[in-house]
């Protein structure tokens, strides 16, 4: 075999390292890459990408039966669910305060605080708390969550252009990490990072959510944006150097490929396996685009993705 010289790029930038947890909880550090994903031969990759499992604060409705069945009874109780998720190998628990959505129960600060307390008490993994994605409600419940989890260094999301100030301020006051979410656009992502830093959030306390679609639903757009964000970071742009988080499970499990077994072409194959592959493919693709945290839903996907990460990390 002829000798092949592997071309190496010299990068000037690297991804910020962001720590979640600590202070008595387990700590997870993400980021720190000095090269593109999994190119260990070119630059340092000090931390593994982390796998988070999504936990809802209300019993999910409309979940495909196999996904609901995989969790069983714990779906009714976020604390038990989170505990179970920790047993299934999650590195991080991502708690979604879905009940705060005006159409899902419209719960407020008090309930949010209670749920966060309960979930924090049930397990010792780092926590991500996501709001219902209605800006006004996000402001109310995430500020409450922030206060409840003071000193535990959780991540709070999402900061969007409309409400980044409120959530950013809460993160500063309570020592948390802000998740900056922008709609698949490199400049908006960068701008929001700048705005958060202007507010006083330190760059080491920001994660970016570039927004993703599932496989077959615009995944390639996100892939490309993430690649460009990482390229900008590696070439020295500090305002694109935040680790990235992708909400894979949520996107993947709402597509018909993960739900439907009626009137679909035979070539699609059997639903149960197809749905798992859908989540897995979405996750592994985004990991290859540079995701530092993937938020998943099915325990089997968690297992498979952790195995994939093991292999890729060598």
């Amino acid at each position: 075999m002829p000798e092949v010289e592997v071309p190496l790029e010299k990068w000037t930038g690297k991804v910020n390292e962001v720590r979640l947890g600590g202070n008595g909880r387990q700590a997870v550090v993400v980021g720190g890459e000095a090269t593109f994903p999994f190119l260990q031969f070119e630059g340092a990759i000090p931390n593994r990408p982390a796998v988070a499992i999504e936990v809802l604060d209300v019993q999910p409705t409309g979940w495909p039966s196999q996904l609901a069945a995989a969790w069983g009874n714990v779906l009714a109780d976020p604390a038990l669910w989170a505990k179970k998720a920790a047993e299934y190998g999650a590195d991080i628990i991502a708690l979604r305060l879905k009940s705060a959505h005006p159409e899902e129960g419209d719960t407020g600060a008090e309930e949010a605080k209670k749920t966060v307390d309960k979930v924090l008490a049930a397990m010792d993994l780092p926590l991500i708390v996501l709001g219902p994605e209605v800006a006004e409600k996000d402001n109310i419940v995430l500020v409450a969550a922030s206060e409840a989890a003071r000193g535990q260094r959780i991540a709070l999301g999402n900061c969007e252009e409309k409400n980044y100030r409120t959530i950013g301020a809460a993160c500063i006051a309570d020592g948390h990490v802000a998740i900056a979410k922008t709609p698949i656009e490199i400049n908006l992502a960068k701008q929001l990072n700048i705005l958060l830093c202007d507010l006083g959030v330190s760059p080491e306390s920001i994660l970016m959510d570039p927004t993703t679609g599932a496989l077959g639903y615009g995944l390639e757009y996100t892939y490309s944006v993430m690649e460009r964000l990482r390229l900008a970071c590696l070439t020295g742009d500090g305002m694109t150097s935040m680790p990235m988080i992708c909400t894979v499970g949520e996107e993947s499990w709402r597509q018909k490929e993960s739900k439907s077994d009626i009137e679909v072409p035979a070539t699609w194959g059997e639903l149960e396996q197809r749905a798992l592959i859908w989540e897995e493919m979405t996750a592994s693709t985004l990991l290859n685009a540079g995701a530092d945290i993937v938020v998943l839903r099915h325990p089997k996907t968690v297992e498979a993705i952790k195995a994939t990460i093991d292999k890729l990390m060598g």
Binding site: N139, V143, E147, N163, R165, T166, G168, A169, A170, I172, A173, I184, E185, I186, N187, L188, Q191, I194, L195, D198, L199, G200, V201, S202, S224, R228, L231, A232, T235
Partner: protein, 740 residues
Amino acid sequence: MSRFIATSAIQGAHAVFNEAEQLLAQAMEKLGPDTPVAFPNTAYYLPVIYSFTGHKVERLKDMAWPLEHARALLPPVPQDNLWLPYLGETLDSGVATLFAEEMIEGIRFALGEQPEVRNGFTYNGPIDDVQMRSWGIQMVDGRMPGFAALVGVAKSNEVAVKIVRELQSKGQLIFLCGNVNGRSIVDQLLEEGVELGYDTFTVPFGSDTISAVYALGYAARAAISFGNVAPGDFRQILLYNKFRCFAFVLALGQVDDLKYATAAGAISYGFPVMADTVIPNILPTGITQYEHVISLPFDDIPGKDDLERAERLVQRCIEVRGIKVKIAKVPIPVAYGPAFEGEVVRRDNLQAEFGGKGGLCFEWLTMKDMDEVEDGKFTVVGGDLDAFEEGAKVPLGIVVEVSGRKMQKDFEPVLERQIHHFINGAEGIQHIGQRDIAWLRFSKSAVAKGFRLKHLGDILHANFHNQFGAIVDKIQVTLHTDKAKVQELIEQARVVYQERNVRIAGLTDEAVDTYYSCTLCQSFAPNHVCIINPERVGLCGAYNWLDCRAAFEISPRGPNQPVPKGKVIDERLGEWEGVNQFVYEHSGMNVERFTIYSLMDSPMTTCGCCECVMVIIPEANGVMIISRDDYSMTPCGMTFTTLMGTVGGGMQTPGMMGHGKYYLLSKQFIPVQGGIKRVVWMSQNLKEELGEELKEICAAAGEPDLLDKIADASIATTVEELLPFLEEKGHPAPSMESLI
């Protein structure tokens, strides 16, 4: 710096420092040095001292160090025969005052004398941490602009209530303290039954001036909590408050030495001080964002009565602190939103129209001084919508007067052009055109729902505040429907339009040292950067150089950034070091060189939004220009859509370039290639749209008949058809210097 204020403040500082020193000695003796000192339900010790120095006062004895620190800060009282620049000393004495005041309050707590109880009313004392957090977040996210510290006593109870109500209506948090001859604004408000407390955003700190220190302690705690500032980093604490916390002090009634000294402390935070009595003004800005000290003698404020004077006083305070107004909902009787922008008001539903064919209508936005504009004042001169018969065509003049600290004359046309878009958002109102060709149509249903001309004022007022608040502070609108008056004003407006045209024409690439970027389209063309120079409009046609400049003022982190030209590399090609560097950095290092005057040598890239594409036709030694609206085949063998596939996406393609329609009229239209004389083929609609202006450009280039020599799709869609036509017409391009 006023010598008078400096002297008073320094005297006041000495007095309060001595009081603190004596009180501390007494308390140490009476209670013992280990007696705990704390503001209840707070975790920031004595917060001003803690935030400035990092020193934690937990017991009486811990005050020894800050006392000495304050002593060291105290400058000597200025002598009558000395004249010194007093600003530094005065600010130092202000800080010493705050230290002394905070120690006094701390000792009072240790003695059990705080919170104060007076005339049966329990004052609040310092704000607890839970409340500080809740308000702090609202101040950071902008729901609450800042706080107003009212110190002293208002002219009357009525005025006190009015001032508080006005501040509340502007979302300001209100802190109350101080007295004049034993009477306090708190007494006045209580007598009038005004409810005070956290729930009503009014906090009565105490009846003396010393309790004003709680306001500054609150600001310091907010900076530590929400500004990520470390205790002891006094510079950042002060800067945070200057730029983030829109607070001010309003001294009501006579100002004594202690008030001056405390005010000096507030000024170090960047909080300006207003007084309703005669005191010297300190106008030069620096420590605060705008003026430092402003005297607004209450009885001299214009107004029909005290209530109106109180309203104006608050308005002025808001202006001086630079607080921006936001209007949540456009207050008009019809629906408002982007969904109504494209709406057409047809004849059978027409209540009244202004302008249009044979009509008389104009809109004119003009900049005024701050004191010439009354924010939110809308005046209708002449009949209103309900006064005209159905379907009437009436003259209308919309005169918008704006003022703002960051407003510039050059932004007038930029703002004026927004009127179209703003007014169109109202349901049942159609707006077309601009300047003196504006045309407005009002539907019957809108007028039936109560829409009147005044509401145009509401629409403009709300939108300019919300979207252009960075440059506009005040907006007043006058609507004229009286024909003679409209006629008179339209003439004045036309003079201004003409001046603006001249200004734009005179705005050359050479005349400025900064261009602007536009990276709005990087969402889909990640490597594309537009460089917008005065003589080339953005390729989408939507942004010119002035628009970009205004956009940058409005959103300093937005997609339009200044690009300093830097050192010239090649004047003829229009290549500068600064531009190259910017484009390189912002194109993901894909575009290394960039010229603004050449089509052939490193031309500007295209995102995909261009109005026109220019392509060379080597056989004709010229260029063709096709517009987006033209679906025909072209002599280069490609349609617009196919061309876009080649030129779009941020690729640098010599010989091909996207551009705006109006670029054709620029004096710097591909000058390296010889300008307009190179154009051998052009979309028919461009010829029609730009006809007259194009003819002038052609004439200026020494080719008055050039337009007739330029082919279009009706003449040639292939090179074979094009060449004989050019020859027959004697087009100059084939005999010009070779393009390649």
